[in-house]
Amino acid sequence: MAAVGILDVDLCGPSIPRMLSIGRPDVHQCDAGWVPVYADAQKSLALMSIGFLLEDPDEAVVWRGPKKSAMIGQFVSDVAWGELDVLLVDTPPGTSDEHLAVLENLKKHRVDGAILVTTPQAVSTGDVRREITFCKKTGVRVLGIVENMSGFVCPHCSECSNIFSKGGGEDLAKLTGSVFLGSVPLDPLLSSSIEEGKDFMQSFPNSATFSAINSISQALLSSLQND
């Protein structure tokens, strides 16, 4: 079983704790630093998020850049992750303090690359183009593009509606010479699983959504292994 860590550097909007159904445990210190919070008994999924450090979950983290950068520096250097196969870093939208802080603090370690997530709309790919430039300028390899919210199949009549337009992810990949990892459809079951902190992959293994996420993960893993 692989050991995976998730570092949630969205300080203003930390969503990962809820999505993994990890309530509000205390963060403890050990000799090696802060102990991450584990999502499972086997300790195969470790997580650090500012969500765990707030006394009141509705409290707003109203911080300017330097304070955000300092916290992210601590998250990278002071968390005792232990042996991990993969560390995933979830970022807020943008190309600013958080993104620069993550890269600066990970400089001494190897950053395999970045996955860029878009929706099919031009309004979304328009911003992701700039994110790709950010990666190029900071020397981060673009592992590939994932297109979320890629169509909705009506559960009543099976008609597919392209609610957020169509094809933007693939077009963006072609335009920028990036790998298109795949697309994930809109799925109310995925939305509600995430809300309720359920493991969608365990609950709905036969769904088209599972198949899409699975093939994206496989493509990503082989790309990392071939490196």
């Binding site: 707003a60 600013s96 709309q121 950010f134 809300e195």
Partner: protein
């Protein structure tokens, strides 16, 4: 200190270890920025200022801001402007059909870009020469740009100035509130989707508004159900597992301005730079939008009436 909470070594604490400590202690932060008074004077000819906020990204803030601007400007006697302070992800030029436009400087400052005679737009998007350009700026530089947008743009006399923001409660949000502190801001419209993951962040945004004493005009719930164009059945694509914006507004005693259903033609209009309200005026989504806009107009004019009755 306007940056809260303090967290050190995993616990809430005093200022020790805060990267701002030296600057704070020296008193350098205490002197008010002269730009605040300049902006106060410059924007004295703007009758109503509305901020559009959300805690979460991707909920439809820019879509809403753009259509609010279009709807307000549909009254040709009103002068409307839309200011995009999403420095890293400026979507407004595309949504308003103004991609590729450039900003001009004159003696009286920067000229905004006009969609119609009575609808002006400013965005960093107009200052970038390529759609691939990334604005890789830390907080202070972003703040400087926002200051310039407010102080140096020749807005003229306006009935409404709408400010579209990036998601979060950080530099851009503190700056906008700080630089507008010598003016009157009517309030903020907060955008969410029905998901708890979105509401969780909206509650933080609401706390931010309360902290900086920014009135909240109300909450808009986007992506609120989808009617299949083929069989006309409704699906909740983003199920409101904790009661959606309706329950949150009831709990927090805030107005729910409206629930906008998903319509694929909204995304298409935005991508094409057209107003959805013009393209598909009979859509249920367009009708909800118009009702929301009316509520906002009523809020703004009630504020004026209140002020007049107390003077």
């Amino acid at each position: 200190c306007d940056e809260l909470p303090h967290i050190q070594a995993g616990k809430s604490s005093s200022c020790e270890g805060c990267p701002n400590q030296k600057v704070c202690a020296s008193g350098a932060t205490k002197a008010p920025d002269p730009a605040i008074a300049e902006i106060g004077a410059k924007l004295s000819t703007v009758k109503h200022k509305i901020l559009v906020l959300s805690g979460k990204g991707g909920v439809g803030k820019s879509t809403f801001s753009a259509h609010l601007a279009h709807a307000l400007a549909s009254d040709s006697t009103k002068e409307v402007a839309l200011l995009d302070v999403d420095i890293c992800g400026p979507s407004i030029p595309r949504i308003m059909g103004l991609e590729g436009e450039q900003v001009h400087q004159s003696g009286s400052g920067w000229s905004p870009v006009y969609v119609d005679d009575n609808l002006a737009v400013m965005s960093i998007g107009f200052l970038l020469s390529s759609p691939d350009d990334a604005v890789i700026w830390r907080g202070p530089k972003k703040n400087g740009m926002i200051k310039q947008f407010l102080r140096d743009v020749d807005w003229g006399d306006l009935d409404y100035l709408i400010v579209d923001t990036p998601p979060g409660t950080s530099d851009e949000h503190l700056s906008i509130v700080q630089y507008l502190s010598a003016t009157h801001v009517d309030g903020a419209v907060i955008i969410t989707t029905p998901q708890e993951v979105s509401l969780q962040d909206v509650r933080k945004e609401i706390r931010f508004c309360q902290k900086v004493k920014l009135p909240i005009i109300g909450v808009v719930e986007n992506m609120s159900g989808f009617v299949c164009p083929s069989c006309k059945n409704t699906s909740q694509i983003f199920p409101p597992t904790t009661g959606g914006a309706e329950r949150m507004c009831a709990d927090l005693n805030l107005p729910l301005l409206g629930k906008v259903p998903l319509d694929p033609r909204i995304a298409r209009s935005c991508d094409e730079g057209k107003s959805f309200l013009n393209e598909v005026p009979d859509s249920p989504s367009a009708e909800v939008y118009q009702n929301i806009v009316q509520s906002i107009k009523d809020y703004c004019s009630n504020r004026v009436t209140e002020e007049q009755s107390t003077t």
